[in-house]
Amino acid sequence: MSLTTSEHESTEDGEHHHEYLPAVEGAENPGGEHESAGERDKKERLMIWLFIGGDLVILILEVFAWFYLRTLDSNGMWNAAKCTAAANCVDGLGNPLIGPVPKASIWHPMIIMSLAIISALFVWAAESASRRKAAKGAVSGPALAALVCMIGAIVVQILQFQVLPFTTIDGGYASVYEFFMGSTLAHLLLMGFILTGLWTRAAKGRYQGGTFHRVRIMRMFGVWIAISTSVLAIVGGFFV
């Protein structure tokens, strides 16, 4: 293929032609970048979309498992609806099981879902503050609020494990429901980690001066977390 030199690389003495962009005050990774923030951002946004795509596959399969086992109702053990005292159903450890398996409280998933949504909204507020070059506090404030909401959601999710009216051994509904809870918890923990970074770095002034790109991708991911949490909450809560 044909090659020519590019315009901005020219020296007279054979020195290697790497050009570094000057450090930008308040920017991420100050000093020594080959590429502009815009180029970096393009890559990171595509990366987030692809990551969300992969996570979407996981979400779809979880929801598929729910509806498939619910429809199949193998051995009547989706939620043991037909298991009377006479029917001699047993759970996963061989104990007698009388159905139907009680439904989990709707409040936990609804609260978790709401907190995830509110958290995403706070990240959006942080992004707007960063975009309009507001003061440091205007970014780190909403960031902290987002983190607090996320921690709240995590706490509620952990609490829910303790107050469930069933355990994993009680059939299909119980199994998939608890899997939803575990999956939600894992995603919330990941988001909590990201929001911790958002808060600490916003407090250090990294996202002022219009360098909002990283906050944007965190907002994108936070919105996705809110969506996937909501889907699992709704399916698990309303489609028993």
């Binding site: 990366m47 051995n75 989706w78 994993t168």
Partner: protein
Amino acid sequence: MSIATAPLLLEDTPLGPKAGGLYRRQNALVGLIAGVVLAAIGWVISHALLQGSNWGSDMVVTVTLTCWVIGFNIGIGTFNAPFRWVVGKDSTREDELYGAGVGQGAARYWKYCTDHKVVGTQYFVLVMVLFAIGGTLAMMIRTQLITAHSSFLSPGTYNNIVTIHGMIMIIATIIMVSGPFANFILPIMIGAKDMAFPRLNAMSLWVVVSAVPPLLATFVLGGVDTGWTTYAPLSVQAPPAMDAFAICIITFAGVSVTVAGINTIVTVSTMRAKGMTMSRVPIFAWGSVVSAALGLYAMPAFLTAMSMMITDRATGTSFFVNQLGGAGWLWENVFWTMGHPEVYVILLPGVAALMEIASTFSRKPVFAYKAAVAAFVAIASLAIMVWAHHMFTTGWAPNLATPFMLTTELISIPTGVIFLVLIGTIWKGSIWTRLPMYFLYLFLWNFIIGGVTGIYLSDVPADQFFHGNMFTTAHFHYTLLGGAMIAATGAVCYWFPKMTGRMLNERIGKTAFWFIAIAFQVTYFGQFWEGFQGMPRRIAFYDPIFLRANQMSTVGAYFLMLGWMILLAAIIVSWRNGKIAPANPWHAKSLEWKVQTPVPLENFLVDPVVTSDPYTYGEGVPDGQNEPSAAPEPELVPVGASESSKGEGAS
């Protein structure tokens, strides 16, 4: 810094004593120690808390091996950057250069090195190690089957070997082209300085490394007797080795391959050289991107399936236990949602590499480039719609047999286009029969057989004879080993000079080729024969009527092994002492051949600008220019450096 003291090459930049921070102390040995230590802590704690409880040993194994994976990755340095980020620190330019391996010499191959060329080389060695293990297991299988009732292996051990052989080969074939070549070669090929996310690149390699010990640990944890497809409920009942198996998959597929796929897609999408539109990109880039995209669909499915498997085994959920509301069919569906796209994830990069080879060694452009791209995309799209052809005989959904037969047979259309592209490239070319070209011809022979036998399997009534039969085994070995792995071997021979700076010894290589080519046919025609006779697969002992066919297959396998070992010998001998390779031994036209060998850090001393695709053979212009011009071709070799002074393998 003044011009007089500026280093000539980036990798010669002198770094301060603190550059790199924690990375200075981290390497594979530290990772190993940290992994073992954390695993031991995990074992002690989980054993104390959980051993006596229900599913205790499953939970203990799961916790212990998860701690191994996390510990190893802490030790090697995977988590350095995220934790530095979360507390608000950033790396300096010196840290980044240290991370890229500056100043560390050969030691950087044992460390978390962000230079894509180092990662590519590490993958190359890892792939060879995995094939060696998987191949040894294969020879144990064939040795067992040389007589009808051998006492070489007990049935339990045999089943475990079959399982691990399958899984290791799947791991190795998934990364055999995307690991070494999409990492080392692809960024250079598109004019980039590195991958889009160099740290994630290093991470995806070391995560695979950390995934392998759990897989091998299955041998001492009771073995997995289910085959690599780990159908439930047999796998739910398997010994704790199955949890180790699941941890391996979650780590390898769920983390490493997914991340590596994202990296490849972002790199090709955003980091191409100026002037390189997607229609000027080498076809290998397209194959790698489409494969990565398909992997992004398939690998999360594997992660989900194995997570459900772990919860079924260690916490008592019943995803896959029919008596408790689950379904073996759920496992099969989720598994094959991964399992079918996965074979195209394996195949496409190798096929794309062969298209490059076909072009270079026929001295002609890739024939019907756009059709090739369309074929890749069509294969990937159809691949997600055919999964239940693995389930024709399960009784799962008899009404869906016909739709899945339709989609499966449709895939043969874009696959046919691939043949059109390959033979169209050869048509009236100037065939240069150097070693890489040998593998193209062998692929053509093998993949026709593999593809055609797939058609038999896709026919639902015929599948009732062929499912679970050695015919199926022979089919997928023809496509995966005879097709994809032969393509990968061609890629090794093709890019070996660029990656190692040495020419691969062709005399030894061609000897290996003939052993492999002929022994392969003997081995797997023996298995087709077994299949026609009605021999099931995955059995340690068989009816004596299958004896002759098995003997044929085993004898072939031994010669096949010999062939691979001769090739390995060629690789080792040439890597150490081979003839120094020129920068462009194949006189090819893509960008990786325009840089010097060994390739400097960040690849290009001068940012390339391209004006055509790399297939300008026969268009009457000197190598490298599209039309005659007064200006000479700019030198890409740095002033002062010469090829012979850098002759010791990669920089």
